[in-house]
Amino acid sequence: MRTVSAPARKLEHGRVGESVLRVDAIPKVTGEFAYSSDLFAAGMLWGHTLRSPHAHAEIESIDISEAVSMPGVHAVLTHEDVPGKKLYGLEFADQPVLAINRVRYFGEPVALVAAEHPEQARRAAEKIQVQYQPLEPVVDPERALEQEDLHPERPTEEAGYFNDPRSNVVRTIVIRHGDPDAEGEVSVSGVYELGIQDQAFLGPESGLAVPDGEGGVDVYVATQWLHVDRAQVAPCLDLRPEQVRIHLAGVGGAFGGREDLSMQIHGALLALHTGRPIKIVYTREESFVGHVHRHPARIWMEHRANHDGKLVNVRVRILLDGGAYASSTTAVTSNASSFAQGPYAVANALVETTSVYTNNPPCGAMRGFGAVQVCFAHEAQMDKLAAELALDPVDLRLRNAIAQGDILPNGQRITGSLPVAEVIRRCAALPVPEPEALPRDAIRLPGGAGNVTRGEGVKRGTGFAVGFKNICYSHGFDDYCAARVRLFADASGELGAEVHCAAAEVGQGVTNVILQVARTELELENITLAPHQTATVDSAGSASASRMTWMASGAVQTACRAAREELESRGGSLASGDEVDVERVYRHPQTWPLDPETGQVQGERAHVAFVCSAMKAVVEVDTELGLTRVVWIGTAQDIGRAVNPQAVYGQIEGGTAQGLGLALMEEIQTRDGLITNASFTDYLIPTALDMPPVDAVLVEEPDPDAPYGAKGVGEPPTVVATAAVVAALRDATGLELTRAPVRPDHLAGLTA
């Protein structure tokens, strides 16, 4: 029998810190990569979801008799066919699997159809007779606080939050820090507003549910967190967790929008009911109503400061519209509160944040998660304050930049890496391109190919913004990630490894991170990543909160080291056919919740770590037509350490595009709660013509608590980009521009 020793050979390439080509790039460029909408199974049927045309209505009756007799139809299901729990939810089970007696938002699922052809399923859905009694929709988040409770049972009560008796409150947070009435020598205030942004990932919600013939089901789906899906799906099907196996299918982007369930329970219900595999693929229109959005916000802020530019007191009131169901609204509420003052040290603060239920589209996770909204407001305020004090805006930010040892309004002392002053300096130092001479090609002017100006009426402006947010889950959440490593002697007698980790690859590149960590720790060439599924490894937690690099690195590193130890305890070699198989769970340092009355952290820290970013934007505005062109963006981002630099730059460029979109064009429009622009014709995202070059500088100050010092990169660019671009528009036009997205009529001075 041959035995093999580790390391089999010295690793040449692919460790942590090197730019490594994506392992999934080749199947993605050839078209072979199987996304959740590409799946196929013999005998498969197509599922379709009938959705509410009303934002708020009583359901008087549902008649499926005609629909079930349509050609090709195998099943028509309503809430009565949900065998287990009728409600589910990411944090609170307040959302019906299928509407029961009432619909609370436009597009809420009411019934399901399975048929042989998707068109048959759609046509059958049209024949389901639902009698609605429309009700007045609750659509204004301020009025919601006095209107009828949409969830009279108050699902989020008793969760340890501040007790707010007003109607429709999802969560209220009050943070009192120092003397919340402290006066400064000057004060500036403003009210800011942000519309609803959509994740607009390109791969529509989709998946395949396959019954296992023994009462269980396999669901292949694009998701961000396999195990939390299972935890929601199984009880609704009245199945044990191990009877529901969730497998990660190819994910066409996520950005928070795949944290909540889409087709998982629906597909499984139809599959179990018909005994056939069920494929569901949302249309783009359905996708716009089929996932949660970024919370629209109204924010009042007052900044009090002294003449030397030092902030004395920041007073903030935030109202977030959570829409019809809770999703992750409670966590977005706490995030918005945590970062409301921006990355600045301030001795006194008062932050009051309330999120409400309405009949608007449900809101939840989107890249930046509460920090985007407040950054837009606090950065506008910092510019206002600089103008009031006649100080340079960058200098004002530097004077107040938070640093290690400073205390946040929630009472947490900053201990890890948070190089705010450094990102400000590095970003400010980036050279801004010279204005391009006129005349020039219309494509390089506001309005582009529309050919509406030759340069007359065009003004240029520069904006600057700084922001920060947390990495990983906060406030006492038991945040962990598991990884399993199997070492074996391969056919040629060399040592190889197979890594299992349920960390969702959503396009961000965590697959490479996992493999780079495993290569670094094991020093082996032959390492593969097993398919992601719930059955073979414990939870990885969510691919969100910029946490997956940190957490997957920690888990894979721990499991690899345990595997090596085990190997060494067996004499450092494996007989062919033998294997080492270990699973380990990694947890980041503990966090604690906030006191519900004072908003002060009840332990050492509320957040495990922070990342910050500074961004500078140059725009041109056709002030007559209100059209814009973003000319250039420069940014310096704190990342701890780059695991895969090429992927880090990619995240920064892509995250910047999403922030630019919210600044200039992206908004879900509603009328009485009904979405009116559910298409890429009417909901615009940045195209190749909208994006400027992005000059990015990485600030690498490894975090002592993070594996390899690597913190995470996904969110900061989105947090600062909206603020930076709108600041540049203000500089170009002299207008206040307190609402994002900024519309042409704002810029042309037609509306405020």
């Binding site: 190819g250 494509i443 190749a688």
Partner: protein, 152 residues
């Protein structure tokens, strides 16, 4: 109805319903899911294919209209198991994240470079402005186009 068409150089037959798009037929009838379905309304370019050598959105063409015509999809770009220069460039430059836009962009870029082997910066932006990408911010896609143009 039964249609006959040439796909990636091979004659293929498919039974389709009269209302089905070429995209649906490729993906669901012919086992070629490489062309993507991000909007199915002609807004995103993820379904880009060449129809008789002309770049089209396969979601806007009826399957029946392709009867007797020649279609090239992303699956048909490479040859002899080797990547097309554009595909290789997308891999090298990091132009792929989630990759859902990639098949469409690869086909659109191949089409652009066939027409304009050395496009200017503005020509690249304009030519690809019908292909949405939500992940990359396009910077690395432009790098890929330049790299492929240089390699051609």
């Amino acid at each position: 109805m039964r249609i006959t068409l040439t796909v990636n150089g091979e004659e293929r037959e498919a039974d389709v319903w009269a209302g089905e798009s070429l995209l649906f037929a490729l993906r669901e009838r012919l086992g070629l899911p490489g062309s993507k379905n991000a909007c199915e309304q002609g807004e995103c370019g993820s379904c880009s294919v060449l129809l008789d050598g002309v770049l089209v959105c396969a979601c806007l063409v009826l399957a029946a209209q392709a009867e007797g015509h020649e279609v090239v999809t992303v699956e048909g770009l490479g040859s002899d198991g080797r990547l097309h220069a554009v595909q290789e460039a997308f891999v090298q430059t990091g132009a792929v994240q989630c990759g859902f836009c990639t098949p469409g962009l690869v086909v659109a870029t191949a089409d652009l470079l066939a027409r304009r082997p050395d496009p200017s910066e503005d020509e690249i932006r304009e030519a690809l402005s019908g292909n949405l990408c939500r992940c990359t911010g396009y910077a690395k896609i432009f790098d890929a186009v330049r790299l492929a143009a240089g390699a051609a």
